[in-house]
Symmetry: C2
Subunit: 282 residues, 2 copies
Amino acid sequence: MASTAKILVTNDDGIHSPGLRLLYEAVKELGRVYVLAPETPKSASGLGITLHKPLRIGKVKIWGDTMVYITNGTPSDVIYIAIEEFSPRFDVVVSGVNIGDNTSIQVILSSGTIGAAAQAALLGIPGIAFSADIDEASQLEEDRETWENMKRVIRAITSWVLEHGMPEGVDLISVNFPRKVRKDTKVKIAPAARIKFLQKVSVLYDPRGRKYYWLYGTLVEPEPGSDVYVVHVEKAIAITPLSLNVNVKEGEWAAVVENIKPMIQAAESALRAQTSATVSTA
Amino acid sequence: MASTAKILVTNDDGIHSPGLRLLYEAVKELGRVYVLAPETPKSASGLGITLHKPLRIGKVKIWGDTMVYITNGTPSDVIYIAIEEFSPRFDVVVSGVNIGDNTSIQVILSSGTIGAAAQAALLGIPGIAFSADIDEASQLEEDRETWENMKRVIRAITSWVLEHGMPEGVDLISVNFPRKVRKDTKVKIAPAARIKFLQKVSVLYDPRGRKYYWLYGTLVEPEPGSDVYVVHVEKAIAITPLSLNVNVKEGEWAAVVENIKPMIQAAESALRAQTSATVSTA
């Protein structure tokens, strides 16, 4: 066991989320732990990086006497700043615990919690994202049994990854907890569903009679076996191994190339067919 | 040919980007075209959706006499609002032309331009994202030859997708233009590289002597054949078919399950091993 493992703890809900404290408590004995998180919530920030403004870090002592670092950057920025400021090499980046589960590809692709773990993965650092199917932070603090059980699971998974690394073919791991975690709650490996919500739009009118829109999602019937099903229907813990490779699958590449050839020919023809006159008068 | 095709045009640079106008001009004769774009730039917004505040849309007449709709939402919000406001069914969503290429998985996963096309794809609508390797919008306006040539290529590709739909196994298509597009510029199909930049952090000091950080990227040597190589080295147009399936590849799933089993057992053991006393005193 790497007793001197370097562990970065972050989230996208900001430093005042009890989920960050839970995560810190879960891993604090596994190595040298650094906590750097956004000062304010950065939900739905995905893998966004801040290139157009200066970033700062500050220190606060919270949770008794723990030194926590805060930044005005995104969860993805956190990874780069932590590497600069704390250590050129982390053994694992843990992100969360997010208030709200991050199940389904639709949600995964916009999640800042998963974004931080994904950004770490792009740099070759094992990344693990933790999220819980709860609506409000207070639910996490009030249910001490779930709190302690989540800590046990987080510690076991992080410890396992520190010892074994990411499995071959896996870039990062996303763990989603159900609302309540009990002694007999099951832990299941589950692929991500494609979508979780049907997004809807409410059309409303403000006091001055002007129209506005409010987006909300209605849950789609989840496919058995998927992460959404495991967390929401089976009320079990879903472990979802993810790959960042958004290229067409290797086995399908040749067929796709064949199918796309006529499109490429159409594009090239459109370019080649022009006369010099067309160009100069354009 | 679908002469009554419904086409949604959007971007993430905002309505004042010449890239949006270029895109509109390229597709305006292919069907009934709706333009709805963020009022201000929303770069690096990925697939973010706005759930916690009201969204508005407004109308402006620009580019001579074209009615363009604007919103305070993200590129992904645009898709849902457009479906509510204009049509329950679009035949294609085109996004861009982004000022700056969106090559490599690292960039793809945080791009708002690609996010809009990906959000459409999640709803089963063909999405095409267009981006150009230019630093500033003015470069696009000053090079009329490139401007007209991009239009030709965009029109040919969009027209092809309207007629044939997305190839099997492809969720969306990302097209990246090189700095200059000439009559003899090549069009190539190219998978996305994993990373394009090594992110670096500059540590600087403000006039009051306080430390701040500025993130920037240095280009990684691109792998031949990748989208980055095609656009930056070969100066050709790269067509990159993308899949949103971030699950572990099907062929590797069984092996990953086998590898992860001990992790799951470790997590379950941590839960089961506790005594009732542990829980109640937690």
